[in-house]
Every structure is written in structure tokens, then in C-alpha cells.
Symmetry: C2
Subunit: 130 residues, 2 copies
């Protein structure tokens, strides 16, 4: 996306990861799918402003990278469900510290860090999100 995709060799792991999440909506898609598997139109509603074309393209890329799973049900009307793969979940977790950093340093360094964070989910891992 933001750079040459799949040149075969990256300078480092960050480079490779940046390639995977380099799309404008990639991380938002990741976040939306982490909350719950979503259908196409559902996803579109979760990401205000994204166009069908771009959403479809991003989903195809994420699928190619093994981040999301696409399940098409042969029904009428057609139904397709997107969900995170195991690899997608680990990516989401790896994004956690970065999200924390962004929230602390770029947003209003809210002190939401300590105390009011629930732990019944893996909120601790993926904090710094909406």
C-alpha cells in the first residue's frame, strides 16, 4: 500500500508489518473485526467514509495476507462474513503497545491508563482504541 507490496524482502519486521497495515482503513478494519465478525455492509457502516471499492480492496489484501477470513454463504440474499484469523488476532495484539503510545503521546495523554480499565476482555492488550 503505502509502499511496494511484497518486494520479497523487507529491511526488517516492522517494514513487513507496515506493509500489511499500511492501508488507510486497515487498522480500523482489524479493530472492527476484533470486536465481532462482520458482514460487508456491516463493516461499511462501522467505517464511516470508506467507499465500497476501497473496503473491498483492503479486505482482499488482508485476506491474501492471512489476516482475515472470508466466509461466503450460498444464500439469497448473498451473505459474506469476515472474521479475524489467528494471525490477525496476534497482529491486533502486537498493535496494542503502539495504540497505547499514540493515545498517550499524540492524543490527550489521558490518564485513562490506570484503574478504569476492565480486564474481563483482553482490553489491557489492545488499549488505546476507541
Amino acid at each position: 500500500m503505502a509502499r511496494a507490496r511484497r518486494p520479497g524482502s523487507y529491511v526488517c519486521g516492522i517494514d513487513a508489518a507496515m506493509d500489511v497495515i499500511g492501508g488507510k482503513w486497515k487498522v480500523l478494519i482489524l479493530w472492527a473485526l476484533h470486536e465481532k465478525p462482520c458482514r460487508f455492509g456491516e463493516l461499511r457502516r462501522e467505517l464511516p467514509g470508506v467507499t465500497e471499492k476501497v473496503l473491498a480492496a483492503h479486505l482482499r489484501e488482508l485476506e491474501a495476507d492471512g489476516i482475515v477470513h472470508r466466509e461466503a454463504y450460498d444464500e439469497v440474499p448473498p451473505r459474506v462474513e469476515y472474521s479475524l484469523t489467528e494471525r490477525g488476532e496476534t497482529l491486533n495484539e502486537a498493535l496494542g503497545p503502539l495504540g497505547d503510545w499514540g493515545k498517550e503521546n499524540m492524543l490527550g495523554g489521558v490518564s485513562a491508563a490506570a484503574g478504569q480499565m476492565r480486564e474481563d476482555d483482553d482490553v489491557a492488550l489492545i488499549a488505546g482504541r476507541p
Copy 2:
């Protein structure tokens, strides 16, 4: 960079962080400066392929975001040294898990994880780099 810079409000911390490191060479600059403070030309040699214009632009943005510090010495010939700020260091650390993920999942999931990793530096934190 890759998206609208400083719209004033991001969807989440990841969004904000992605904005900071969204440039094509940003993370490489971060990495180079983490190893040691660098002069402009030095930095250029560390990043094969980057042009002066782009490197200068990225450095200015990183400086504006409080990630790197620019120290200009009034000598002849002119000398400028770039280094990571405290915030830059924390960003670098926050990038660690992502680097690990990229190395494990996108590169040759090398088993370099265990054993042959030296710990005299903070290698453990910022693994997955060159």
C-alpha cells in the same frame, strides 16, 4: 503522510501513531537513530535509496512530532546531528511487538526468537529488526 495529518482528532491511538510513522522511511530513521545519533549524510547512507528531499521532509515531520531532536552546530563545514527524543525512544519500544510480529509472520518466521538473542542491549524490546 499516508493520511490527513493532524485532523485534530483521530479515531484511536493507533490511527495517531500510524500518522507519525506513516512515511516510507520513518521507521527506518527511527531504527537508525536508535542505534546512534546521526548526521544528515550519515543517515542518508544508512537508508539506501532515500532521496535528500524525502529524508529532509521526514526528519522535519518527525521533529515536529517530537520524535527526533535536531542539533545544529555552527561550524564550518556545517554539522547537524539528529537523535531520538525521550518520546522517540518510547515509540521505538512500542514498535517492538509489531516488529516481532512482522518477523514471525511475514518474513521467514525464523526461530531466531529464542536463544541466540543477546541481552546486553535492549534487543529484547526491539527485536524483529535488521
